[in-house]
């Protein structure tokens, strides 16, 4: 039997960097983008040599803004993937798209290339909030994008949202949720804003937390999200992800459950046969690589770490717990040959006592309160 593999393909370009974003992405000249895609296409061919025994079960074109690419570039990348990897027939193939960069022509190229899921970055349905985030589009432009995506025939669409934004109120957040659910997407990601160091938001708000919704408002928005989406037929299957039944994102679920994945492109992370590594993060250096076998082995992969058994257990717990169904004690024992209780007995007892987790044979999962402070709970699973 072939082993399942997920592919993540990074497109580090944006029309404009958003003020809260700390991902590896930014603006670049068209010539740079072209050079990059050429390199990426070479990398796909070159890396694929290592994975003859695998079937690709999901592909995720993320960014940056992959929808910034020209139709032909999208097609070239996808064709290259199909040429060099064995893509499962029912593979989930997602591309991220941002309003203002999506044309019908591109969407047709996506379809032709085998992309079957579009994830649209909206963040908010309030134009003032969008502007403050440094987004390049209005809500109206998003609506056009969404319609176009549907017209092009995509039946699996995600919309990304963010709460706890500067200037956001419970009412405006509710309006965003209302507007979005009316569109009936299959999937909604709803994150709380986190002020990351090194972003304009950090400079703007780190010393002025009073400009952000206070803790009470933030919590209310958060509780509203769950309740509102639930009443509209979305089920929360991960801390920040909601889906109509059967539309849970398989690619992301793979991250939480230890599926192997290969990252392609600038700074992309991989998890292969117990090794975690990450691609070159410097755009210039990446573009200068000659994507031949030696270069890939010697220069492309950085921060190569072989997980110990202990680390695998830690990850099994703190990643698996992100899913609402939790982690399975049976699966733990099957994988590691020891019982979960033997390794984490004390931690589990303490967390159970504090009602941060719930035991639901054979699963152990976060409680509602545990989800609120998941960072605290998950850190307990580090050995």
């Amino acid at each position: 039997m072939r082993k399942p593999l997920e592919l993540y393909i990074h497109i580090p370009f944006c029309a404009q960097k958003c003020d809260y974003c700390d991902f590896l992405s930014g603006r670049a000249a068209l010539s740079v983008q072209r050079l990059y895609v050429e390199r990426l296409i070479e990398e796909i061919a070159c890396q694929s040599a290592h994975y003859p025994g695998y079937t690709v079960v999901s592909v995720f074109l993320g960014g940056g803004t992959p929808s910034l690419l020209e139709p032909k570039q999208i097609l070239d990348i996808m064709n290259q993937v199909k040429r060099h990897f064995r893509l499962a027939e029912d593979a989930e193939v997602t591309m991220e798209a941002n309003p203002g960069t999506v044309t019908m022509e591109k969407l047709k190229a996506c379809r032709e290339g085998g992309i079957n899921r579009i994830s649209i970055g909206l963040q908010s349905a309030d134009d003032r909030e969008l502007k403050n985030l440094g987004r390049i589009h209005t809500y109206d432009e998003f609506l056009k994008t969404f319609q176009r995506v549907r017209q092009a025939g995509f039946a699996n669409v995600n919309i990304d949202l963010m709460s706890a934004l500067p200037g956001q109120t419970l009412a405006s957040w509710k309006a965003t949720l209302k507007n979005v659910t009316m569109l009936k997407p299959e999937h909604i990601s709803a994150y709380s804003l986190i002020i990351e160091e090194g972003t304009p938001f950090y400079d703007r708000y780190h010393d002025h937390l009073e400009l952000l919704p206070d803790e009470n408002e933030e919590r209310e928005m958060y509780y509203l999200t769950k309740q509102f989406l639930h009443s509209h037929g979305f089920e929360r299957y991960e801390i920040s992800n909601y889906a109509k039944p059967g539309y849970e994102c398989r690619h992301n679920t793979g991250y939480w459950t230890g599926t192997e994945y290969l990252g392609l492109g600038l700074g992309a992370s991989s998890y292969i046969q117990g090794f975690r590594f990450c691609n070159e993060r410097d755009l210039g250096a990446y573009c200068r690589l000659k994507m031949q076998q030696e270069d890939v082995d010697d220069y492309l992969h950085k921060d190569i770490v072989r997980l110990t058994e202990k680390e695998k257990m830690e990850e099994f717990m703190f990643l698996g717990m992100r899913l609402m169904r939790g982690v399975s004690e049976r699966e733990f024992e099957k994988r590691f040959g020891v019982r979960m209780g033997d390794v984490y007995g004390n931690v589990l007892d303490r967390l159970l006592k504090n009602r941060l987790i719930v035991a639901d044979e054979p699963y152990v999962r976060l409680s509602e309160f545990g989800i609120d402070i998941s960072n605290y709970v998950l850190s307990e699973f580090l050995l």
Binding site: H10, S192, E215, R219, Y255, I373, N375, Y376, S379, L382
Partner: protein, 604 residues
Amino acid sequence: MPIVDQNKIRNFCIIAHIDHGKSTLADRIIEMTGLLTSREMQSQVLDNMDLERERGITIKAQAVRTVYKAADGEEYIFNLIDTPGHVDFNYEVSRSLAACDGAVLVVDAAQGIEAQTLANVYLALDHDLDVFPVLNKIDLPSAEPDRVAAEIEDVIGLEAHDAPRISAKTGINIEQVLQAIVEKIPAPKGDPAAPLRALIFDSLYDSYKGVIIFCRIKEGTVKKGTAIRMMATGAEEEVVEVGYFGAGQFIPCEELSAGMVGYITASIKNVKDTAVGDTITDKNNPCREPLPGYKKVTSMVYCGLYPADGAKYNDLRDALEKLQLNDASLFFEPETSIALGFGFRCGFLGLLHLEIIQERLEREYNLDLVTTAPGVVYRVHKKQGDVIELTNPSNLPNPSEIEYMEEPIVTAEIMVTTEFVGAIMTLCQERRGVYLGMEYIETTRALLKYELPLNEIIYDFFDALKSRSRGYASFDYEIKGYQQSELVKLDILINREEVDALSFIVHASSAYERGRKMCEKLKDEIPRHLFEIPIQAAVGGKIIARKTVKAMRKDVLAKCYGGDISRKKKLLEKQKEGKKRMRQVGNVEIPQKAFMSVLKLDEE
């Protein structure tokens, strides 16, 4: 016959206010007297501890012997004895001065006389030293040598019109200083044939030679084989080696005789046996009485030092023992805290001394420390009549057993430009100061005299002084004695449990204010828990202030993007690492730095 002609010896020190150029002048003197080549010259030879160099002050007294060929063609031996430059080390300063016959007073030609200038001159005059002034930094555009010379004559009464005007930094007129040392500093006296009488002004522990005693021979002669006795400590040993101080090295010689400065080794294992100020005599031919001025050094400031990692307790003890080998003024004894576990109560000469020791423990011995708030030694008079010297607030007896309490008081001299007199007087009043008087040094500068409780100046008085005078005020103090005072113990309760390591003694009038600030500070330091945590300040069981750390409601990681698990894990690790640096008190985890937060209550 002595091997060295007494008339050709000059024993002297350089005294100055901090930053007026003492160490630089010492370097130039050593350089010009040619014992070292320029290449060997490390800048500031006398300051050979890293810490001292960073702080720009000299901590431990040291000495150097150089040879100067004077204008008369004769060679003179200069023994330059370095003195510490901080009030914490006043006693060491006085012993170093006692080893000299004269002093070079360095005054910054731009800044003029400062508080320490005066304090040091008076100290030198008290020791009957001949003092002559030198005006330094004349290369600065702001230098006003005429004005400063007049100031020296008016304020101190030293002849200054012919004072050498130098720049130690650029080397201008250093020759004049050397010549003045020969002419103005008297040669030592003392009978080499009399019974041995030598003053210990410093000592150093060396793992090969044992304790190396730095001494000035006042009378008599000492050489290898002499059976010596320290008159105060009673320690006795046979001399193994005597010698003098080359720059940075010990140079053995035949004998040391009256008037000379040098070192003695005698297989002594502990610097406690060679107390600074003690008199060395010949066991078999003792002098009649010791030299005057010996004082047992007592610690003025105490605090608890605990290893952050309880398993490092023995390492901490070993490190303290090693430091004590070289520093008899460092005191420590084991103590136990409910909050912090096993550690040591340590006594220091002052806050600077504390900081130096703390830094050395952390830097040289790689120890991560938790320090409790420093305090002074209080005298607790109990109703039954006995008196306790209280160094740890936790040991304060029940208030019903206490008749009254006393705290140490200092007399302080603060030199400040007149525009800041008001601000400094306000500061002193806030610190419970008693005004003693004010003198005008010149029309723009005044010398304020105050009595202040030591516990009001050990934390941050110096910083406050500097900030309220835009850096212009200078400060010197000496311990005056004990005085009855209305003192109370302020306790801190976290989640209704008293945390012993956070208790401190405070004057009743400032208990409320301090308690409130303390609660506020701790509220910011203690992370949120799963439950609400009350933080309370109490005096005698009565709550006087309260703050609350709200329960944790949200703690979520950012979006995990493109499978970047490592980053996520790092964040979790950071969180877990944070927990490790906490101390568990009851159900509450308190960050280690919270225990020092009492120190920083006056920050805006």
